[in-house]
Symmetry: C2
Subunit: 381 residues, 2 copies
Amino acid sequence: MTFSPRTIALVEDLMRHALDLAARGRYSVSPNPMVGCVIVRDGNVIGEGWHHRAGEPHAEIEALRGCDARGATMIVTLEPCAHHGRTPPCVDAIIDAGVAHVVVAMRDPHDKAGGGIEKLREAGIEVPTGLLETEARRLNETFIHAVTRRRPFVLLKAGMTLDGKLATVTGESQWITSEASREKSLALREEYDAILVGGGTVRADNPRLTRRLGWNTSAAGWTRVILDRSSVVSPNATVLTDGGPTIHITRDADLDELLAGLYGQGIHSVIVEGGSNVLSEFISRGLWQKMILFVAPMVVGGAKAPSIFSGDGIASLTDANRFRFDCIETVGEDLMITLYPGSGELGVGSGSEPGTPARSTAHPSTPNVSSPTPHSPKPTP
Amino acid sequence: MTFSPRTIALVEDLMRHALDLAARGRYSVSPNPMVGCVIVRDGNVIGEGWHHRAGEPHAEIEALRGCDARGATMIVTLEPCAHHGRTPPCVDAIIDAGVAHVVVAMRDPHDKAGGGIEKLREAGIEVPTGLLETEARRLNETFIHAVTRRRPFVLLKAGMTLDGKLATVTGESQWITSEASREKSLALREEYDAILVGGGTVRADNPRLTRRLGWNTSAAGWTRVILDRSSVVSPNATVLTDGGPTIHITRDADLDELLAGLYGQGIHSVIVEGGSNVLSEFISRGLWQKMILFVAPMVVGGAKAPSIFSGDGIASLTDANRFRFDCIETVGEDLMITLYPGSGELGVGSGSEPGTPARSTAHPSTPNVSSPTPHSPKPTP
């Protein structure tokens, strides 16, 4: 199958639209991946769909409904499934509908799925793959990491001053970042299955740590995880008494084993919100996939004030924990800085990791500073 | 005088062009301000000019040369001078040329100048003022501060890690920021009259602290200032022995008096490059006008590692030193963050200070993240 440049541009536009459709499932589809699908014939869209919720029809089935897809081209953000799960295999429906071409952004990384592309090809359907694969991987970065590594995707989140302090020397931290940043933080919680903090943070601030915007309507639950190896959390703490779900860990758990255990409990993504020692352990161990820092334009100083990175410090710069700036946004008076592990220039992924993001193409006029990020749009009702 | 919206848009475009012309003097005009001038009749530019160097013709004179300006409109970024300095008053030349309108971006803040607008008006010329005044003030922020406050404009510059460290616990600092950031730092030196560091930095790193790109061709000199109150600098230090200009301060000088003294020596702008204690003293005393931080995507930690803000730390957030993000750029792998004193959202100036910048209009498609800054373009030969 060969495409003219004009057809390729059209198909890319349609794949971008399919990715937008997929993203509508951001707050409802978990634990499934977000998937969007467009069916087109002679340049006209004749069907489209997105996966709403686990157990409900896949995007391909939604798109096929009510259109005659014989000889048409299907554009889908994820490889159609070939297995019987909560719903019948999509590949059978696609073959039965007489679709001629299926353009796929990325293969299904899930070990239970896969094989869909091969089955379609065996049925004589042409299946080009890899169109906007980077964008598709970024969209489902938490899902891809979880199912391939069998560990939750870990987002480290912190609000800090320009000099890296999470609080003043006296422990004041509540109002470092602006209200806009705190709202953005609450929005992030809606995307993650669990909120993890250290026992010291619970003891110091007695936070609620709730998902409270009501955006997430998925079948997957959410929970709080309190990493309280030294058992400093009071039994009267809000997180232990408010009736909400909490996993309270008081044994001396190895962090990687802990993450494996959380995955075993169905937790595919974790947002780590502090404190200093917990964030630092994740950084030192390299057990994180994404970092979002809300940086307030102030300095507070104090060698004893808790920092984003605690401990004795790295002696040599060659041993420094190096990251990669991905995206910078302003949120109220603050900066929201998104980073990924590894090194490199802003927004340029190495491509070697599942879910590796690439330079954002949202604002081609400003190649060096991408904004805003694709995450956390307020969901449309 | 009333203008139609279309005329206003045209005049604004021309003022923007005049500001671009003015900026050509960035590396040559010191200690004078940058000024650009355009002369237009019936929508056609008939003359333009910019001030190249102290002692050479002003922008208005350059623009008037070789054109018949009778009845024309002059658009100029700074109030034309009415005094006899190294050159005759511009207002006389403008009146003699028969110019009908003079559109001025900002008044001359210099106490020796001023009065030009009044003289033009007395001669029957219409003189609207304030068009793109914010941009004009930003362009000459160092000049405006110096002549109104009789202190040099102080830029605090630092290269640091995400956790605010200027070096590791063992003092390694040379390679925190990328080569691109270090080049940008050298470019900044070309814009400032003096480079100031603490004695500790000289003792630790024995830096050259030279302007070495050769961009600056102005009549004004440059110098290094070593703030060495504890006399820790070796007499063999490079800055004291290389034959270049150095002001070595070993007395226990009050910082504000020190700045007044530097102004008295003709120094209109200072770039403070560290170390931790010197930067912190400028921050604590509020004796700075602009801050540029090169932030490397890494953390090194260590309570004893030198930070952007030293000392015991601020106890209460209400006492924190608060700034205002102005502009974020990426430089290689690093971020270049520009801040101003005070608080507020990115790029929104309070307008109460001389030289107060406003939201950059360079990239109207990205109102929240301005890039790049107008400073440090590589000069065209």
